[in-house]
Symmetry: C2
Subunit: 478 residues, 2 copies
């Protein structure tokens, strides 16, 4: 038990220093290691396995909605990046430039893709000719690079993994439908798979994507009351199509520009999982993305029959869950805290006395509830408990989010609330950029989104007092 204590003590408490707690968890749970390249992380097997589950589930959803995967080059020639004015202004300041290939200096420098709109547009201009070629529903899994000044594993890194959907449609209506459809796919994925409730809405003009007509977002709330933009879906209208001359002949033989969308989520979702579900014992993983859903810890494993029984249970349970057995020579207490640190949803303990009674002990990671289960009904019980943990985590996260969601009718109230009890602030807005800027200046909070579900907090803008147009979710954000 001395060792167990030591392991737990090694993590800073959440309430004491949230940032340090986060750093402790990602290191101790073996999610990442640092590399010698500033701001780039090594995603270790345990962290990468979570990403693989995210990928697999999302990829299935993309394919079910008719999307196909492709792969674009990782380099973008400077001239291509420059084609869409807003886009290049948004991204050029933060790209990495390749200037030499082998020993030769390139005649045109290439940037490492920060996002691939320009590449998709160039390709679409090549392959789209007729209305029969539409829609094009493409997606790409890859890594992208943005030369950020301050970085943090998963949340903001120089290089990160993501998927970027890029679609082209015949009409503005279809593009808008696609934009919202994919936002809903993300929202449903976050709630059902990551157990993270999200607020869906539209970004303000100030916060929208460089080159987009409109940006939609899902926003989630972390344990420290900060917001995390968890996925975005952009409607480009025909802006890129005009810059890149992506045209098709419609049924009446008229040339038309296509209407485009793009949408993406990144490895930052892993950061969200950590900061929404984690606690002072470490990571807490939703079963749907947990690399190991149940860990078997043999108690008094040197005693005859214990390891055999543990292995027998592993074989049985492997049919209903992702199971590991920890038969290392560490003490059970040490193993308990190690797998708690890693957020394994369920722990099964089995020792000589349990075997005698034909039972096992099951312990939930989320609330530490402990139950004795007959070995005869183990599969049923484990399946049930995993579903309970998954649902329980979503419910708990929703309660946390709701508890940390406040309303403000005046800027003073806004400032006081966000400083004393950080969280989402719901407040009215007149729609003027000036007020958005003032709010940020005074409170450090940004407009997270204009939610689809509008409420009337008051009649007037929280900042200028003029007539309000929208209710906005505000917050300090990662």
């Amino acid at each position: 038990m001395a060792q167990e204590k030591k392991l737990v003590e090694a993590i800073t408490s959440m309430n004491e220093d949230f940032a340090q707690w986060y750093t402790d968890v990602i290191k101790k749970a073996d999610l990442v290691d640092y590399s010698s390249i500033r701001g780039c992380m090594i995603i270790r097997p345990y962290g990468y396995a979570i990403w693989e589950h995210i990928q697999k589930n999302l990829d299935t959803r993309f394919k079910e909605t008719g999307h196909e995967n492709v792969y674009m080059p990782m380099f973008i020639p400077e001239s291509l990046l420059n084609k869409e004015k807003d886009h290049v202004e948004g991204f050029a300041p933060e790209v990495a430039w390749v200037t030499h290939g082998g020993s030769e200096k390139l005649t045109e420098k290439l940037c490492v893709r920060p996002t691939s709109e320009t590449l998709f547009c160039e390709h679409y201009a090549n392959i789209i000719h007729s209305y029969r070629d539409l829609p094009k529903l493409y997606n790409q899994w890859c890594s992208v690079v943005r030369w950020e000044k301050t970085t943090r594993p998963f949340l903001r890194t120089l290089e990160f993994l993501w998927q970027e959907g890029h679609t082209a449609h015949a009409t503005a209506e279809e593009a808008q439908e696609e934009t919202i459809k994919m936002l809903n796919v993300y929202a449903d994925f976050c709630e059902k798979i990551l157990a993270i409730p999200v607020v869906k809405g539209k970004k303000t003009e100030k916060e929208k994507f460089a080159g987009a007509h409109a940006t939609y977002t899902i926003e989630s709330l972390m344990h420290d009351g900060k917001a995390l933009q968890s996925g975005t879906s952009h409607n480009f209208g025909d802006g890129f199509a005009k810059a890149f001359e992506i045209q098709y002949t419609d049924k009446n033989n008229q040339l038309q520009h296509v209407h485009q969308t793009s949408w993406g989520v990144t490895t930052r979702l892993i950061g969200a999982i950590i900061m929404v579900h984690g606690d002072d014992s470490g990571l807490v993983l939703p079963p749907a993305v947990a690399p190991t859903q149940l860990v078997i810890i043999p108690v008094q494993q040197h005693k005859e029959g214990v390891l055999e029984k543990a292995n027998e249970l592993k074989d049985r349970l492997s049919k209903v869950a992702r199971v590991k057995i920890d038969d290392s020579d560490k003490m059970p207490g040490w193993k308990f805290s190690e797998h708690e640190m890693k957020g394994v949803p369920l722990r099964l303990e089995i020792g000589p006395k349990d075997i005698e009674k034909n039972q096992a002990v099951l312990v939930r990671r989320d609330n530490r509830e402990k139950v004795f289960v007959s070995l005869d009904e183990l599969e049923t019980k484990v399946t049930e408990l995993l579903a309970d943990v998954q649902n329980g985590l979503l419910e708990k996260a929703r309660q946390m989010r709701d508890k940390k969601t406040y309303i403000a009718k005046t800027l003073d109230e806004f400032e006081k609330t966000i400083n004393e009890t950080p969280g989402f602030i719901k407040a009215m807005w007149c729609g003027d950029r000036a007020c958005e800027d003032t709010v940020k200046e005074k409170t450090a909070a940004t407009a997270r989104c204009i939610p689809f579900e509008q409420e009337k907090i008051s009649d007037t803008c929280v900042c200028c007092g003029k007539e309000a147009k929208h209710m906005v979710y505000w917050g300090k954000a990662y």
Copy 2:
């Protein structure tokens, strides 16, 4: 039928101009598109779906043999690349250099990974301490960049997709066992899944990987008689471990260097599929990696009941195969050649007369055999035929390879054979680099490998006439 003819005519015949045939196929089968970055390709949905099947099957095999996936940064600082002497000499001349991030000039330039040995080594030095930490069996799926002068889609591109396995072991024996195990995984995968027979063997010192102790390879033979290195597995010994100080404490509390391996296959496997199985009508895909295994072509689809029946069959057959229906408004003949071009293994034709007779027509892509099948036994027959096509392709490829494998006892014979009937040349070798160089100079052929299965062609080296040490497979290579 006029349209069908036109489509087929659009491909150059293999025998006329193999290189042009290859280019025609990859374009007409919608595998790739060119981009504005020299030597980089866009992998289109149909090409990428083949890669996804390759990935999925290999990834399962890697996991079954105990490997875990990770993700390393895509950049390598110059100083890190420089740590292992042979390695940097091999790769530095062909890397892309990032010199600027945003608007700032970097203090140390970064190369875009051409391969990730150095990154894995740095990480291993960080995380390996004790014999309990071994073995480390890691793999990574990513893209890498090599600044090649001449490029060709799939076969040699500036950027390509691959997987790179990197492992660390306690002993030299374990590392050697791993090296051969993964070579066998590749060989089995190529034969069973890609229907491509391979020769397994060791590379000569001249041909081995920069920094390796020994390189093993699987070599396949293309339709034009050229060899393609299809996968490699390297034993690094403790060379990298010494350069990067990767040490562990063994059971006797002694510091030891680890022994390492790496192994990889790339998107060039898609090039192999094209050049081994393709014909003058286009691509021929092994069912195991075919995005569509069976295409349903309704005949006289405007007639009552035809489309309904075709869709009903699609639903039924989707349970046993990857099925598509082509109900576009093109002529059946056009559809036939389009799906032949794309290499779909089976075609099902169904028209009013077939429906009357409760039958369908099934046509194999590989040998164009046509059978009439009762609708009652369609699932069984399709499953059978797909297995037949898969096996038939391997058998056909083996016959082609064997037919194009020659022996040579003298350099004259060698030269004449490889020029008149390109293929593998089996010939004896004394083991001297000088002879290897002479063979290359005179014949343009390189030592593909010293095969595990040795034969005695003669007693003396094909070049110098001295005593022979090994039988070698030689060939001109991609």
